[in-house]
Symmetry: C2
Subunit: 385 residues, 2 copies
Amino acid sequence: MIHAPHPALLPNGLNDGLPPRAEREADVVDGLMAFVRGHGYRRVKPPLIEFEDGLLAGAGAALARDTFRVMDPVSQRMMGVRPDFTVQIGRIATTRLRHDPRPLRLCYAGQVLRVRGTQLRPERQFTQVGAELIGADTPAAEAEIVVLAAEALEAEGVVNATIDLNLPTLLGVLCEAHAAPEALREALRVPVDHKDVASVQDAARSLPDLGAALVALIQATGPAREALAEIAALGLPPAAAERVAALHQLVDHIEAAHPGLTLTVDALESRGFEYYTGFGFSIFARGARGELARGGRYIAGPEGRGQPATGFTLMMDAVLDAMPEAPLPRRVLAPVGHDRGAAARLRRDGWTVLQALEADIDLTAEARRLDCGFVLGADGPEALT
Amino acid sequence: MIHAPHPALLPNGLNDGLPPRAEREADVVDGLMAFVRGHGYRRVKPPLIEFEDGLLAGAGAALARDTFRVMDPVSQRMMGVRPDFTVQIGRIATTRLRHDPRPLRLCYAGQVLRVRGTQLRPERQFTQVGAELIGADTPAAEAEIVVLAAEALEAEGVVNATIDLNLPTLLGVLCEAHAAPEALREALRVPVDHKDVASVQDAARSLPDLGAALVALIQATGPAREALAEIAALGLPPAAAERVAALHQLVDHIEAAHPGLTLTVDALESRGFEYYTGFGFSIFARGARGELARGGRYIAGPEGRGQPATGFTLMMDAVLDAMPEAPLPRRVLAPVGHDRGAAARLRRDGWTVLQALEADIDLTAEARRLDCGFVLGADGPEALT
């Protein structure tokens, strides 16, 4: 006899959000979106699924293997469930909203699905909140996005966050400046990602200057000002030095806008930043697995009509892990026939007011059973003793 | 040469939500959820996809043909994208939350997908907001749900809503009472749904009493009190009369809780209510295609451990169509180097404050270009003249 699986069983990496965490997530998403909208970012809401050739075009190709696909019986074409919002926002910005004035500020919140989880994040459904600034390429535009991400988290109660800045294309730029063959560049990727100094030196033994620069960059990580000063002293080739100088300018803009932020630089960091063409950044905080936010400079929109853009995405599971607990609303049980106007006023003041469904009950016992700390009396809520 | 489709093209029935409608939808969802949570309904967040045998079990089978399916490469089992929340909420209530005290009040908001749209609603993705009261089967419990749906809409500004009550199982009960063969019952379904009196009489000519009762019920639709009085005078068989008496009791409870509501009865209405085992209801309002809300009494959870439940689902596209326009927030452009504290205070007061990204610009012209009605001066926002 074959037993049906237990109905509570969900696929790996897919979970039921339960109270109070599901409520907390919704409240924090609301707070973050209100903050971002207050800065002029207009909310858009792309569909959960769309044709895969749009969803996976250009920069979206990086997530092709992570995307659930379904056949559209109407058009007989393949559709994908979005693994990320950024490609969709780029599509909207460069098509539906192509005539809107630049810079275009857009924001979003919603669910994304991935075919497979990662070791760090086994989940396959994520709540993402993000903002994109499209059609501007100055350090001021880039700084607006970094500071907005940091301040939005701060406004929701995340403390002691660290913003780690990087240059995902720097390895490529250095390899080109040193005329490194493609094979060497490929061979360097993993040891550089793992900060494996010995392997970097070994792989680059035919170009010892390149090897030395990479090792120095790996070692020059830490607080932004110090790291950038160290890197400036390395005498990198002009194309690389230019990238570093731009990052320095960005740090200046960020510090001018919000002096107290903790900035670090890890110039060669590029894992998960394949999408980005300029700087990249992550935000970390104590208590959270992995990063709370990721963002940077990229090209929005399909190839051929792309526009410079900077954006960030907040990963809500990590954000919640870094948040202080929220107090639960006070719950009060109102008897049958209670003053409905008084109950409505209490709710507007933030109380949760449940109504009893039966008249002949011990109201206090029922309140206790339903996890209420109060019953509604003639003069208002009365705490259970 | 084959041209690639235009990248703006989305699959039929799937749309980009743009400002201001996407913002309005998010705000109204927030308002509705806050209202429902104020009544003690705790938010849950089931995953977008889960194993299809859970999603389509029991009452969920009615939506099997509307459900997108994807193969889970991890478990090698089929999963479905939810076409509705109710089955998921029932699963959570009877598994994860089976030990929580009853009545269990749960609510949700999110996206659902359907393989095909309908003529009335070509869309295939919907935003749904809903509440479920599980483990209570009294008229007081049923009335709580109907009144909650109506008051939540009212609180968000929907005026002149009509609540239409029905008994989706009444045709079956009458057929049974008249010992109608299964084939006759099948033959009656469509003419009854279309209120086609001649065809009903024709189909039921072998059981003229049944035909006469159905015709009388079709004609007894309208304001709840009048319709129920007419129906009470029909002398229906006891099993049917009992259902009608329960509906009468429900109307009494609804009117006691919220006197001003407009209630109508269309007893035999059952299209789209296949799920419900007790009464059903729809809420309509001027300006909206189709119903704003649908709900009723059903069995929550998988077969064998089902629990009596009453719930409603709000269809956000129809809700928005019935809503008054919301005023847009005032937008102010702040120059480079503005007082960031002052900008933050304005945002907390509901202003949208954009920051200019360049210093050497005509701020007023730039504000106009960016659709701002104000620039930020030393003493606060200054209206453009």
